[in-house]
């Protein structure tokens, strides 16, 4: 479980996050949604330690990320898997080397153990045939899947995905969503996904938080989101003309 308490962050005097608190459960896909520039990615970066919040704390199963010793922080980092928006694959390494990278850097596993683990993760995301290809030789959807394989190779307890569907066609988006949901449930990971893709919200949003101008305006499950009476959320959900006509 991940808990965030009163997270605030400002850049050059402009408040980007205004005291956000929430709890994200284990084995669930937790979504953070909102329009562009509402602070979703900053919140994610605060959670994974890339941006230090001005105030508040982030608890990983009770362990405070920003108020613990370096060893605990390091251990927590090794329990995280992160899928970045563009995949963030290392250009100079093959798909296989990218997935093996955390094992090479952070474990003392034998070559055989690493090979088996990498093969398993690539097979899990359906990319065993692309192991020897370079990131420049694969499609955007494949890059995301390699990113997922790299994120899960260390058996993370916490998985963070920053807009996993951006730039993908609807069919590939659904496949990526299903893959993330399957992995979350199978390995009982606490997964947090940043998205503004409505398909994802409806398909895999077990717990959804809506951010608007740095504030948390709504939190709930996907079955309730349609019934919301928060004007900003309604505007976000029914921005599409067709959907507006279907509004309850």
């Amino acid at each position: 479980m991940i808990e965030i308490n009163n997270i605030s962050k400002s850049f050059n005097g402009k408040a980007v996050l205004k005291g956000i608190s929430s709890a994200f459960k284990k084995g669930e896909t937790n979504l953070i949604i909102g329009g562009s520039g509402t602070g979703k990615s900053v919140l994610l970066k605060c959670m994974i330690g890339l941006v230090k919040p001005d105030q508040g704390n982030v608890l990983y199963d009770g362990r405070d990320f920003y108020h613990c010793d370096k060893e605990t922080q390091q251990a927590l980092r090794r329990e995280m898997g992160v899928l970045f928006q563009g995949g963030a694959l290392f250009d100079s390494k093959t798909v296989e080397e990218n997935v093996r990278f955390p094992l090479d850097m952070l474990t003392s596993q034998s070559v055989e153990e690493k090979r088996e683990r990498v093969a398993f993760c690539l097979q899990r995301v359906g990319l065993e045939a692309a192991a020897k290809r370079m990131p420049s030789e694969i499609s955007g959807g494949m890059k995301k899947r390699v990113g997922i394989a790299r994120a899960i190779v260390m058996n993370p307890k916490y998985l963070f995905c920053d807009e996993p569907n951006s730039g993908l066609d609807p069919l590939t988006s659904v496949k990526i969503d299903e893959l993330i949901k399957e992995i979350t449930e199978e390995y009982q990971i606490t997964t947090i996904i940043i998205t503004h893709d409505m398909n994802s919200v409806m398909e895999i949003g077990q717990n959804i938080m809506f951010l608007y101008q740095g504030d948390k305006l709504w939190e709930g499950v996907n079955t309730d989101i349609i019934k919301t009476d928060v004007p900003e959320l309604k505007e976000f959900l029914f921005s599409n003309k067709l959907l507006r006509e279907m509004e309850p």
Partner: protein, 242 residues
């Protein structure tokens, strides 16, 4: 001043919390190839022609019955060892290696590859930059020694082929009044320049923010700052060591 302070803090992070030695060894070998071996061709071309031009121009300016023609070779040798090989080669390398380092790290930064390393708990500055700095400090002196040899060889080729100096006079000039300390001085310079070029270019690239335009700016800034720092360091080393 704040940029200078940030630069020194950045240098500090290179040496804090490193990774496994085997990782660094592999990265160092990759960088030695990337920085050193891939620069051999450009260094060879530049050095040979600079040596050739030095010989021809020195001979052109040294028309006097009281100065022996072998002095041309002596001047080419000393110019090469003291200045042309170390400084001009490193200026060329600042352009080639500096821009490469800055654009590589800048692209890694804007495509979140640096963030990916940080999230894994890896000291990204140390992992990415330290091998580059050490590789530059190892390979730059080697390239400069190679450049010095080719400077003198280029002078020999141009001098003897155009007939401005005979082979015998050139060889005599090369051996005349040789000061071995100058070789030490020649090797110290690229060691310092390599450190400056690699760290400044890495600093520019590592802190790139934005997109492709900013990567280009970081690359240009890296070359400009590296060249200026090389020239300042060149002057200071000459004052200190000669």
């Amino acid at each position: 001043m704040s940029v200078l302070g940030k630069y020194f803090i950045f240098l500090g992070t290179l040496f804090s919390k490193g990774e496994k030695l085997s990782v660094y060894w592999r990265r160092l070998m990759e960088e030695c190839v990337g920085i050193g071996v891939s620069s051999i061709f450009i260094v060879a071309i530049v050095s040979t022609f600079i040596g050739a031009v030095s010989c021809i121009q020195t001979a052109y300016n040294l028309v006097s019955p009281i100065i022996p023609i072998s002095t041309v070779a002596l001047i080419v040798r000393d110019m090469s060892i003291l200045e042309l090989a170390p400084t001009i080669t490193c200026i060329v390398l600042a352009g080639k290696v500096g821009s490469n380092i800055a654009s590589e790290l800048g692209t890694m930064r804007i495509t979140e590859q640096v963030d990916a390393l940080e999230v894994m708990g890896i000291n990204s500055a140390s992992y990415l930059v330290l091998p580059k700095v050490i590789a530059a400090m190892i390979t730059f002196p080697m390239l400069v020694i190679f450049a010095g040899f080719l400077n003198i060889f280029g002078g020999y080729l141009a001098g003897t082929l155009t007939g401005v100096i005979t082979e015998r006079d050139y060889m005599n000039g090369i051996r005349d009044s040789f000061v071995p300390y100058n070789i030490f001085f020649m090797c110290v310079k690229p060691f310092v320049f390599g450190f400056l070029i690699a760290t400044i270019s890495s600093f520019k690239g590592y802190f790139t923010q934005g997109g492709a335009l900013e990567v280009g700016k970081a690359s240009t800034g890296a070359v400009t700052s590296s060249c200026i720092s090389v020239l300042i360091a060149d002057y200071l080393l000459a004052q200190l060591l000669l």
